[in-house]
């Protein structure tokens, strides 16, 4: 099931022939085992030369098995390769359609692991493990069935043992996995506490808290020790259940043969030959138990990969709408991800060519409004219209062409600054790029880093938050779209940075602008202000209107005015 889900549709029909070939290979191996009965029988007889034709048959079946298995591996290679190429394509396509809101830090690394780790791992497993594993699964029943024709009571007993042995194999795997998972969970808790302890050293030491006794960390460490000891009692059955099942089966089958010999059903030579067949019957299970961790790893990789494909993608229309004049309109929009209400019944319009500032306390849903415009999420109720149409009626690329976006947490990708800006408009000339960069104050950063192609580090780590936002502003400038969505940075920009950012932003004069504003200057410049609190627009109007109304915004404005004149000063009594 999981295998066919991994395969592209066109490769799925090849799965059944592959399995049939594998069954044939298992039958050949079974035949080689069963041929030992007549072969040894003749060999142990007074005239061992009678064994030679049977030896010929054994050699033929082994060699035929080799040819078949080699062929099988090549088929597995084809299947694995088809899986790898199609899965790469499907993953990239799907990730491009998943709502951006889905990507948290955790999910980002999940997606990275699937793309760069899981898919090649699955390919390797298909090539290296699939054939041996399928043959090993089919071989014991094949020998059991064959035994029915040679010594039917033994055959019956062997077939009865098959589910028992596979059950023990799976049970052992599950027990050990459970134990390891429990242990890992407790370890992780203790490790997380230790990391928290390391991160909080400043606070803890300032508080004179140096020891660990009686702290959550001390408890977590002790809990880990206790659980390590408790798990002991579960480890033992996990390690023993499979080997015990194997040994009991072996002894039981040998005892059965002894009984058959004693009751005269078989002669000595045949009995001994059948013991050898019993060992052959058990051998593939040992192989499987050795392959088990690798198979389980492959199974996990498959699950992780398919989980990404299961993430619901955003819908896209058959024929995309054509954008009209750059206006934005929200009508009764509500948004409650994971049942948590973030926005409720939001309605407002931003006429083309005007600037609207969204103002309000943090956590009120301001940034979410911007992300709905950009369709990083889809609203649950109501309608978000951009350039005259519902955002869902556009082809995603068309919608994005209308928007230049500067968000609060700017992520750069590894590579140079030029590369990071150029993503906004890959066909832009160097002159245009440099002009945008200069306007956003990026040139100083380039000088500091030592060139346009100097690496910005993972996620842009070589740059400060303010610098990253300037790069993002340069992107927006280069893109030159009719609508600007901007989330003003609140992180610690220093004096020089702030001046540069404000200068750059003032260039967005003539466009439609929706801005989450923190600076009083920005708020003052806006044509209209929306005061957003607890997911609702509580006041809307021009600055002067709202101040005159004396409501929430007026209070906010007064506080902010007072705050900007505040200075550090001690009480001097």
């Amino acid at each position: 099931m999981i295998v066919s889900a991994l395969l592209p549709a066109e490769a799925r029909p090849r799965l059944v022939p592959y399995l049939l070939f594998a069954a044939a290979a298992a039958i050949l191996r079974a035949a080689a085992a069963l041929l030992l009965v007549p072969l040894l029988g003749e060999l142990f007889s007074p005239d061992p030369r009678g064994a030679l034709p049977w030896l010929g048959a054994l050699a033929a079946s082994v060699v035929a098995g080799w040819v078949l298995e080699r062929h099988l591996v090549m088929r597995a290679f084809d299947l694995g390769f088809a899986m790898m190429t199609s899965m790469n394509r499907r993953l990239v396509d799907h990730l491009l359609a998943v709502p951006i809101g889905w990507f948290g830090a955790e999910r980002q690394s999940q997606a990275k692991r699937a793309l760069a780790g899981a898919v090649p791992e699955l390919f390797a497993s298909t090539v290296n493990l699939a054939t041996l594993a399928s043959i090993s699964v089919m071989l014991p029943p094949a020998i059991g069935i064959g035994l029915l024709f040679v010594a039917w009571p033994l055959g019956l007993a062997a077939l009865a043992a098959v589910p028992l042995l596979f059950g023990a194999l799976l049970l052992a795997g599950r027990l050990l996995r459970q134990v390891e998972a429990d242990y890992a969970a407790v370890s992780e808790a203790a490790a997380a506490r230790t990391e928290e302890f390391a991160r909080s050293q400043l606070v803890l030491r300032a508080a004179g808290r140096i020891g660990v006794d009686g702290t959550p960390l001390g408890e977590a460490l002790a809990a880990q020790r206790r659980s390590g000891l408790r798990l002991l009692w579960f480890t033992v059955p996990g390690t023993l259940v499979f080997s015990l099942a194997m040994q009991i089966t072996l002894l039981a089958l040998v005892a059965m043969l002894a009984w058959m010999f004693a009751s005269g059903m078989t002669d000595a030579a045949r009995t001994v030959a059948l013991i050898v067949v019993v060992l052959r019957f058990l051998e593939p299970l040992n192989t499987l138990s050795e392959l088990f961790p690798a198979l389980e790893g492959a199974y996990g990789a498959a699950g992780r990969t398919l989980a990404i494909l299961d993430v619901p993608a955003q819908t896209r229309p058959q024929i995309g709408a054509r954008p009209g004049p750059p206006a934005i309109a929200f009508t009764h929009v509500g948004f409650s991800p994971d049942g948590l209400r973030v926005l409720a019944d939001i309605s407002f319009t931003v006429p083309a060519g005007s600037t609207t500032a969204i103002v309000g306390p943090s956590g009120g849903g301001k940034s979410t409004i911007l992300s709905l415009v950009a369709r990083l999420h889809d609203a649950d109720v109501g309608e978000v219209r951009v350039c005259g149409h519902d955002v869902r009626s556009y082809d995603p690329a068309t919608l994005m062409d209308q928007l230049a976006i500067v968000f609060q947490n700017v992520q750069l990708f590894e590579g140079g600054i030029a590369e990071n800006i150029r993503v906004a408009r890959p066909e832009a000339s160097d002159a245009e790029l440099h002009a945008a960069a200069a306007a956003a104050g990026v040139v100083e950063i380039v000088e500091r880093l030592g060139g346009w192609d100097a690496p910005v580090g993972e996620g842009g780590a070589a740059l400060s938050g303010g610098e990253r936002q300037r790069v993002s502003i340069a992107r927006a400038l280069l893109k030159d779209a009719p609508i600007l969505l901007l989330d003003e940075a609140t992180s610690g920009l220093d004096a020089l940075n702030e001046a540069a950012v404000v200068t750059a932003l003032s260039r967005f004069g003539q466009r439609t602008v929706l801005i989450v504003a923190h600076r009083l200057e920005t708020i003052a410049r806006a044509d209209r202000i929306l005061f957003v609190e607890e997911g609702r627009v509580v006041e809307a109007g021009s600055r002067d209107e709202l101040i005159a109304a004396g409501g929430r915004f007026a209070a906010y404005w007064t506080h902010r005015q007072a705050a900007r004149n505040w200075t550090f000063a001690q009480e001097h009594s």
């Binding site: 190429t85 302890f197 400043l202 460490l221 002991l232 992520q411 001046a499 550090f568 009480e571």
Partner: protein
């Protein structure tokens, strides 16, 4: 050079050898020749790590068709032209490579193989670098000198084989000390000065015997752990006439790889200086951070050995029943039918199975108990270490080190203790016992069991031909795919916003797939052939074919075949399992090493801390305080600054000026490398290193941008520094910090737990941390002004709280917005680790300088509104 020769050579060595054509020949000194080659298939833009080298196949001067391999460092590879140079030392008697080089002229060709093994990859921040070698190593040493940081300490010891050698240009490095020594196998070893080499990293490349002696001397005389010595033998004295096939394996495995077995070291330290140095002896035993892991594992050693012995016993006991069943078969064939003769065998078999199971269970239990105890002690010692490290150590990077240690490495050690040792022992003991037993049954047939293994090795080595190049390419593709996937995912919000289609990542992934297809598809068939060779059917056929023939010809009793059929068929798979068992073991050692390194980090020196805090108001003085994160690279240069009791001092300046580093010194985030930070109490001044930890913590409080709330109730968070505070005191602090009302609004008020039912915004967390500082009431306060505008909407509340906190304390503010500190008693303007201006706002504004520039730049912002 005959054209036929090339062809033969290329055919013999497979496709991974590269043909290089001489472009030019330059004699740098009389005995040192640089030859520039055109090698477009080799210099194709792939990564060429520092000091990486190739194997040159030099034709034998006497015997055409024979070639010798020599290692040469890549000099100035240029991917755009596909050219690269190699430096040759021309000495009599000449080896094949230098002989070839002496006669080389433009247009000549020679073959080479590419190796990536020799990456220069020192541990992080060694104390210094000791580079040693003969003239053949100079190109590599020059390459290394080129990448070492300028502040690094470097000692270069070079061996001159001829007087002209000293003329060879050595790379320039400000911290390098160059020592020349004369010829002779022991000369390099003798030239290593006796000193404390603790935490130095040694790199050496020379003639094979000289290297062996040098490693022995470094290890035994100077204390270098073998893991901190990287070495390569470029040539071997007295073995000029070696064929390629003889040399390639041995030099690569024994001499080139980084961690060879201890047996590679001669058992006697022969260097003359070795004895001398031992006599004088280093003053104290040198220590290497990399050795912390060994000590960590030392406590486990005997237990793991005991476990190994027990597992060996278990493995034998698990094998014995099969022998007994074989014996049963033998007796049956001999015509034995009496139950009394057969029953004991079966009972013994059952008994041994049972006993082995019990013993195995007992071993598991014991190992898990050992592990639980070891893990607990390990984590306690990590935690114990954390509290002794300076606060400045806790950077982002080191947070990752803690994560690695407690999450991943601890898990690897858990696996090693509980599983790896028994697995390895079982993997070795089982096939060994089997083969020994089978030899006693029939030596001839037993010896034949090695045939499939030989076939396996032969097929594998055929497959491995040229694999070094492919493996390097594979690693390169994996790296590229990982980077492309990361870049794609990270940039996804941007890519989507700007309408990208993931073209780049698709290209790389398709390239990787195509590479895997081109490489693995032809190999898949061979790979399966080699695996089939060691699987049971191959052994079965072998045993039966040879067995039948021997039985028919009367050379073997039929019953003697039984042990082979019972035990011999799984021999190949068992051997394989043993080989794979070592991987987790090696990972665990590396894990132990990383944890050991963490445990060896330099601690905060509390040996002087004995004084208590004097009464009365306190001030602070920085007295020529200098500090650098790395030696010889200061971040702060001789800072002099006095914070008189009750005054407010602001640190301003561009980012990267060292403001935050300076502000951390009073809390001993780091200790100054020279100068001092003193607490000023009246006429008395006390070095903060002399204060007891609790006294210092009572004296200096911090309110920083990065607020850490601990997962406890809001009340406990406020009372962190004063667990004994009364509810009234806590509430008073909360009120003053403007957070009381917010706390009251939380579901359980002051008992709400952070992260559970109390979720605080940035500004609220700030105010809580201010309440905490208010309650702790330190006389000296260091704060980061950025706290004030992390959350503009509640800024005025944070400001109110801050005003309350300032009180009449001695305050040091790291300021980002200049207008918030216009009332400061002193503004210190910092740039590049120095205070460049100081004074009150009005004074600074009145004269030209950085402060006025900063003020005007910030002022424009406000004018814009």
């Amino acid at each position: 050079m005959a054209g036929g020769f090339q062809k033969t050579m290329m055919k013999a060595f497979g496709a991974t050898d590269h043909l290089m054509t001489v472009v030019s020949v330059t004699d740098i000194t009389p005995g040192f020749r640089r030859i520039r080659f055109s090698a477009p298939t080799m210099i194709d833009g792939r990564e060429t790590p520092t000091a990486s080298y190739i194997r040159l196949w030099a034709p034998d001067p006497a015997e055409p068709g024979k070639v010798h391999q020599r290692g040469y460092t890549l000099v100035e590879p240029d991917a755009t032209t596909g050219e690269v140079s190699f430096d040759f030392v021309l000495h009599e008697p000449m080896g094949p490579a230098s002989g070839w080089a002496a006669a080389a002229k433009p247009g000549d060709t020679i073959a080479a193989s590419y190796y990536m093994f020799h990456k220069f990859d020192p541990p992080e921040d060694p104390e210094g670098y000791l580079l040693m070698g003969d003239p053949a190593a100079i190109p590599a040493i020059n390459a290394i000198l080129g990448v070492l940081p300028p502040e690094a300490q470097v000692v270069v010891i070079l061996q001159a084989h001829a007087p002209d050698d000293a003329l060879i240009p050595i790379g320039k490095h400000p911290g390098a000390e160059v020592i020349w020594t004369g010829p002779g196998t022991g000369a390099l070893a003798a030239a290593v000065p006796v000193r404390d080499w603790s935490n130095w990293y040694a790199w050496c490349a020379a003639e094979n015997a000289a290297i062996k002696e040098l490693r022995a001397a470094l290890n035994r005389v100077h204390g270098f752990p073998l893991s901190d010595i990287k070495h390569a033998a470029y040539w071997i004295r007295g073995k000029a006439m070696r064929l390629r096939k003889e040399t390639s394996g041995r030099t690569d495995e024994e001499a080139v790889e980084a961690a060879p077995s201890a047996s590679a070291v001669p058992s006697t330290a022969a260097a003359p200086s070795a004895a001398a140095a031992t006599r004088s002896g280093p003053a104290r035993r040198p220590r290497w951070r990399s050795q912390g892991g060994e000590e960590l594992l030392a406590s486990l050693r005997w237990k793991l050995r005991a476990a190994g012995l027990m597992q060996a016993l278990v493995s034998l006991m698990q094998l014995a029943p099969l022998l007994l069943i074989a014996e049963l078969g033998r007796r049956l064939l001999a015509g034995e039918t009496r139950w009394e003769a057969l029953a004991p065998l079966i009972f013994w078999a059952v008994g041994l199975f049972g006993a082995a199971a019990m013993l195995s269970a007992g071993l598991m239990l014991w190992l898990h108990a050992v592990d639980a105890r070891f893990g607990y002690t390990l984590r306690l010692s990590i935690v114990g270490k954390l509290v002794r490290l300076p606060l400045g150590w806790f950077s982002e990077r080191n947070a990752a080190a803690v994560h690695q240690a407690v999450q991943e490495d601890a898990g690897r050690l858990h696996y090693m203790v509980t599983h790896a040792v028994p697995d390895i022992v079982a993997g070795i003991v089982t096939p060994l016992a089997v083969i020994l037993y089978l030899f006693t049954v029939d030596a001839g047939l037993a010896a034949l069991l090695f045939l499939p293994l030989i076939a396996f090795v032969a097929l594998l080595s055929h497959m491995m031909r040229g694999v070094a190049d492919k493996l390097a390419a594979h690693a390169e593709w994996t790296k590229r795919a990982t980077a492309a996937a990361s870049a794609f995912i990270e940039a996804l919000p941007v890519v989507r916003v700007f309408g990208g289609d993931g073209r780049a990542v698709r290209g790389v992934l398709d390239g990787q797939a195509a590479f895997l297809n081109g490489w693995q598809r032809p190999m898949a068939g061979r790979k399966v052939a080699s695996q089939l060779a060691i699987q049971p059917p191959a052994f079965l056929l072998l045993i039966m074919a040879v067995g039948c023939w021997r039985v028919v010809s009367g050379g073997l009793a039929p019953a003697d075949l039984l042990p082979f059929l019972f035990l011999g068929t799984a021999f190949g798979t068992q051997i394989m399992a043993a080989m794979y068992g070592f991987v987790p073991m090696r990972e665990a050692r590396q894990a132990a090493r990383r944890i050991g390194k963490l445990l060896e980090e330099r601690e905060l020196d509390r040996s002087l801390a004995h004084r208590d805090l004097p009464p009365g108001p306190l001030g602070l003085r920085f007295d020529a305080a200098s500090f650098g994160y790395r030696p010889r690279r200061p971040v702060l240069h001789g800072i002099d600054l006095l914070l008189a009791p009750g005054t407010l001092t602001a640190l301003v300046g561009p980012s990267g000026a060292g403001k935050s580093t300076l502000a951390g010194l009073p809390g001993r985030f780091h200790d100054v490398t020279s100068g001092a930070v003193r607490i000023v109490a009246g006429a008395e001044e006390i070095d903060i290193r002399e204060l007891k930890p609790q006294a210092l913590q009572r004296a200096v409080g911090f309110v920083f941008q990065d607020v850490r709330l601990i997962q406890a109730s809001l009340r406990d968070n406020i009372a962190l520094a004063r667990p004994g505070a009364t509810m009234a005191e806590i509430e008073a602090a909360a009120r003053a910090a403007q957070i009381h009302e917010r706390i009251q609004a939380a579901p359980r008020g002051y008992d709400s737990v952070v992260g559970e039912d109390a979720r605080l915004s940035g500004g609220e967390a700030q105010r809580l941390s201010i309440a905490r500082a208010l309650l702790a009431d330190p006389p000296i306060l260091v704060l980061d002004e950025a706290t004030a505008f992390a959350d503009p909407e509640s800024e005025h509340l944070v400001q109110k709280a801050l005003s309350a906190l300032l009180g009449q304390r001695t305050v040091l503010v790291v300021a980002h917005r200049l207008h918030t500190v216009v009332q400061a008693d002193c503004i210190a303007v910092m740039q590049a680790g120095r205070i460049v201006q100081r004074g009150r706002h009005a004074e600074l504004l009145a004269r030209p300088g950085l402060y006025r520039d900063l003020w005007q730049a910030g002022g424009e912002t406000r004018k814009a509104s």
